[in-house]
Amino acid sequence: MSQLIVPQKTYLFVFFGLIGLTALTTGVAYVDLGAFNTPVALAIAFCKMSLVIMFFMNVRHTGNLVRIIIVAAFFWFALLIAFTMSDYRTRSWTPAPDSWSAAPPTHP
């Protein structure tokens, strides 16, 4: 039960942290990091999300049941991305045999 009252100061610190990370992610977009621009942007977004979940949504003071539910949701999302991408991104690796392509139906 989240009856514990968090000091106002904590929420303010978290807010300024989030503002700082937003400025950082925008600033980093103007720097050429090669292939790393997207991973860095996503890592910063992940940090921001963790701050919101832990402090604003107060999961720090929530029971394990809620934590398991959150972890399960993210695990499901990871599966969705992993399996979808491993399908779509590998389709062109092996050409399909000619016999698989749809031939016009022949009627005797």
Binding site: T22, T25, T26, I81, M85, Y88
Partner: protein, 229 residues
Amino acid sequence: MSDVEAPLHGHTDLAHQFEDLEQQQETDMLGIWIFLVTEIMFFGGMFAAYAIYRSFYFSAFEGGSHILDARIGMANTMVLLGSSLTMALSVRSAQTGNRRALVFFLIATMFLGTVFLGVKAYEYNQKFVEHVVPGLDWAPQGEVLAHVAPGGVQHAELFFIFYFAMTGLHAIHMIIGMGLLFWLVLRGRKGAFSAHYFAPVEVVGLYWHFVDIVWIFLFPLLYLIGGRY
């Protein structure tokens, strides 16, 4: 049941199926979190579709992204984070039983939400000005065309379909959230919430923070693709 808890059943805040307020509150929290999981599945499908097409047509998505104004996106992200702060402070005010602060922070959250949606409306209007609205008004010209041409104009249209679908779905969630906040303001003014009973404020708060998290990912994925250097 102990004598201390017994009078609670006469209390209107406690639904009859619950043993006490603590059990009711835990059940409320479990319910909203399960709902948020279904929301992750809902948005997840869209993020997965985005990931596929972005990986297929990266340069077109990059070109489309560069038409969006990253500064406006950044400012609007900060407005939304501010609304999450005031929402967290609303819940805190409810916990401390401060009715006046609760109503103040709820209205502040609604105000910041309105600012966010107003900026969004301005941005949507800009898309019509630039003729980059897929389906309705897709005819990029001049500088805008120069941005989207290298990756393929048709595939850039696909980027804007994702832009409108994802930000639109997010905006619909915000409008629903604003309606819920308004309902909380009405109830809060009448003193429906106390330090013992504030689950509705907490539930709406969790929903509002979730919508904020969706935007935290939409901002870099739509506005900051491939860098601006």
